[in-house]
């Protein structure tokens, strides 16, 4: 059988990638297109009619101060969380590949937070912040210590801490793979050439791990931008709506305030922001990638 005819290729594609493609279309592409359609309607989420309103929802989305505040807050949160996640996970990966005793145990230990769902994790930490730390603080200070969840900046800090705790282990695995992929040859060569350990690290290992950085940054940026579960269970947007992240605002707008079209338009803007940031970051990252 000829293997370079079009029909052969189509058949091969359909046989192996067909089911996946169809599923992808059904659960991602079609809902996405339908979602875009809904942004042009004033649907409330339950009504049978979906009145066409053109670009009104986009105008409303751009005028929605709460939304832009939430988006700005999400950006600040993402910057801190992404930097901390990556610094910490890189450091952890370095530790658990340096040959310390029981490093496999530590690897799985650091990874465990990632296996706990975001909702559960939020409730666990809420207990820690509201009860354990408060009890501890009160015992030390003698008075009643306020929970850090009771101030806007404290709630933000709590969100960042929990996100870092949640994702550091996961990103660590990718960095571990990065560390392992740098062959001993080049490291040895650099040390023969007179590099100190830290010079080897910064000039040989890190540049060769660039792919891991690109990947980890992409994953952490996109995840932080659409954070919802931890946000919901840890702070629920409180105190006084000061920790409502973009995704939560979109959900509230669409389902709680019953402005489905507006919520969908805001979700689309969030998607675009997220995509632009993510793709730019990957493009910049890929440009300087080197291979040994």
């Amino acid at each position: 059988m000829k293997q370079n005819t079009l029909s052969y290729k189509v058949k091969q594609y359909l046989m192996f990638a067909g089911p996946g493609t169809i599923l992808f279309f059904c659960v991602v592409i079609i809902p996405f297109i339908y979602g875009v359609y809904l942004t042009f309607t004033s649907w409330d989420g339950v009504s049978a009619t979906k009145p066409w309103v053109g670009l009104t929802n986009y105008a409303a989305a751009f005028a929605d101060k709460d939304y832009w505040a939430a988006l700005g807050r999400t950006a600040i949160y993402s910057v801190f969380a992404v930097v901390l996640i990556n610094v910490l996970s890189f450091f952890l990966a370095y530790l658990v590949t340096s040959g310390v005793k029981g490093q496999n145990f530590f690897r799985s230990g650091f990874f465990v937070p990632n296996l706990i769902g975001g909702i559960v994790l939020g409730y666990v930490w809420k207990f820690v912040f509201n009860r354990a730390f408060v009890a501890l603080g009160s015992a030390i200070s003698g008075g009643t210590a306020p929970s850090i969840l009771s101030t806007p900046s404290g709630a933000m800090l709590a969100l960042i801490i929990v996100s870092v705790w949640q994702y550091a282990g996961y990103m660590m695995l990718i960095y571990v793979a990065g560390f392992m992929s740098v062959s001993e040859d080049v490291k040895e060569a650099s040390s023969i050439d007179g590099c100190t350990a830290s010079q080897t690290m910064w000039n040989v290992t890190v540049p060769l791990m660039r792919a891991s950085f690109v990947q980890c940054l992409f994953l952490s940026i996109t995840r932080c931008f659409v954070v919802y579960d931890v946000n919901l269970s840890l702070t629920k947007g409180e105190p006084f709506g000061s920790s409502v992240m973009a995704a939560m605002h979109v959900y509230n707008q669409a389902f709680t305030y019953k402005n489905y079209g507006l919520g969908q338009a805001e979700a689309l803007i969030l998607f675009l922001v997220c995509a632009i940031v993510g793709v730019t970051q990957v493009m910049i990252g890929k440009r300087g990638e080197v291979e040994a």
Partner: protein
Amino acid sequence: MKKAIALMLALVMTLALAACGGGSGSGGGSSKPAGETLTIFNSKMEIQSQMEEMAKQYSETKGVPVEVYYSSDTVAAHMATKYASNDPYAIAMVDAKDVYSLGAEHAADLSGEQWVGDTTQAISVDGKVLGFPVCVEARGVIYNADAIKAVTGKDFDPESIKTTADFQALINDLIAGGMAAPTGVMKEDWSLAAHFLAEVYELQDDPDAFIAGIKDGSIKLADDEVYNALMDTFDVLKENNYAKDAAISAERELTEQKLAEGEIAFMFGGNWDWDVINAYDYSENMGMMPVPSALSSANTKLVGGGSKYFYVDNGVSEELQQKAKDFLNWLVYEADGQDFLVNQCNLVPAYSNITLAVGNPLGSSVKAYADKGALIGNYNYLPDDHYAKCGAIFQKYLAGQIDRAGLAEEITAYWATAEVGAH
């Protein structure tokens, strides 16, 4: 051979796909065979286990399969997702405002039912009865009489506390007697905005006109008599809050535990709080009293009425709708149904023909006020975002970030763009 394997693989995948397709079809469709299962949506978390037990028994005795579902989502949000997936419940328990927003389109007309004559709390839209009141709930100040007596040495008479000054005096006595902080305040947005702030509207002679007045600026909230009277009392609650320094992170369970065990004596709440309180080692003599205030017309009455409404979906088959109606009649007119409402679920019935005594102290307080007609009705037309947005504003007040004038100003600003629900 290879070809055979490839063919088999392709077949398996097609099957898997078909299964997916089939699955989503039956799961997403309202096309379940007629008269199959009576699906009931329950939005009262505290009675979910009783509902499930009841479903089992109802299925056995009546031969109608019943399934009960619960969601911790906001009711409106959950119903939105169910309608979006075209999978409605036969009977849904929703809040009053949802009957107004969903009813016209989705609820079956229940005007012809017998129970309509036995309740004053049913909801009608455009002249058609659509909402079946599940229970009566009311708001007020919950007190722990045992805790008060332990400090003051005198029996507590809730009727003796009418004005904010009376309330403050008693609080002072309690503090002097050694109860460090006699009150608790729930920081939840629904408690602050949907329950407490809502009373500012509800205690007006004409809530609609009042809100319209705030919107067009003819009424200054900051100067309003009701607002100031209620905020005076709120300030007393706030100042004597056991979690005063961290009011905004106080947990509801902890507050209610303290109230139940007598560490604090007062909390603004409603009879639904019993389901939290009874999880703890509660005191015998608890109850509810009206929010003390300078308003002589309101300080002898609780605020409340029908709460949580069942509506029958008009999109399901006629047969299923009939079964749903039968179920509602069972609740009101049969001994098992009445027992379920009053004894199993601890609810205050909204039906005059049900004479069973309400078992829990908060419920019996509400029943007592309801029986003597001392209930001020709920205002059910607040916008969907009112509780969240005004709740966030009220939380700022609770945390001491804004003062009373600032609170009034921000609430007025909220109303500038908000619209009350159609009614």
